[in-house]
Subunit: 101 residues, 4 copies
């Protein structure tokens, strides 16, 4: 189980809204069976890393079109193998320690 | 209004759990009045950018201790100035387009 | 032609030096025919993106061993398709404009 | 001594070349006494971290203008405090281990 964050930024588009292009990228992800969460700064995917690599490639490709000449894609992989770590467990583990002060 | 994601990774610690150190970093952030959300891959802060810069410095510093000799901190700033963009608006804007297909 | 920067951080290792593990990751890259440059903050690879995706996977996997239980890998892709952009051209283009002031 | 990598991406500009804006950001950095190196994927700055924080703020601000409504800035800090680590030492340390195989 790996947890991966991806953000995709198209260049060459007019205006500074990215939501249309981010929605396009997410529609590719929706076709996979992978669990994901959209945050304000990227999309967090969790599951089998090989499956995730494949969908990352498709997500990056999906942004190119006639008005997008350049794409900056950023990927962060958190791959823990001593035990299974879901996104929820990671957050709960921090919040428990934060509440103990 | 800027939206900033920070993740802080201490090196030199034994074992591969980061939650204790992430909780320590978040306790610094809690002392500010800034709005934030903990995700599985970082902490997303939103508000006045000058205020955010100040708290980022403190968060980075807070991880150092006797057993932490090196800290890798990563910061992503999304600073939109043509209109106010909250984290919730960014996500809603994408979800609306995603649902229209 | 895409330009990709990768940095790989192993967790669970004692001490805070990463050079042994970074050298291990680079040895995987050296087996490919891809052009690369080691910088102080990562390794910049340029070439065919499909080839790069394959070597990124191997580089990430190569860090795991008995004393490495968790790996944080970060990848930045700059994929420009309106014209060929080598790392050297990108730098030269900026330096020319910088010298014009 | 910290080593920091920054990349600044302006949105809302026509076309997909960033070199003019990157040159503008670098001209701010040139006014400081900090050592830096321009790579194909960002600018690597090394020196006193407080000085670096100040110049990072100026570099981020310098990109805004009438045709730039949004700026995505990314910062990676490698802050090692058990011994002095220059960019050159980091690279040499890896290359020595790589050559030993």
């Amino acid at each position: 189980m790996a947890i991966v964050e991806i953000s995709v930024v198209p260049l060459g588009i007019s205006g500074c809204s990215l939501s249309t292009h981010v929605a396009k990228v997410l529609s590719v992800l929706k076709e996979s069976s992978l669990q994901y969460e959209l945050t304000a700064m990227g999309t967090i995917i969790s599951g089998d890393l090989d499956e995730i690599w494949n969908v990352l490639k498709k997500m990056h490709e999906s942004v190119f079109s006639s008005d997008v000449c350049r794409v900056l894609t950023q990927i962060k992989i958190d791959d823990r193998r001593d035990r299974k770590a879901t996104p929820e467990q990671k957050i709960r583990s921090v919040m428990e320690k934060l509440s103990k002060g």
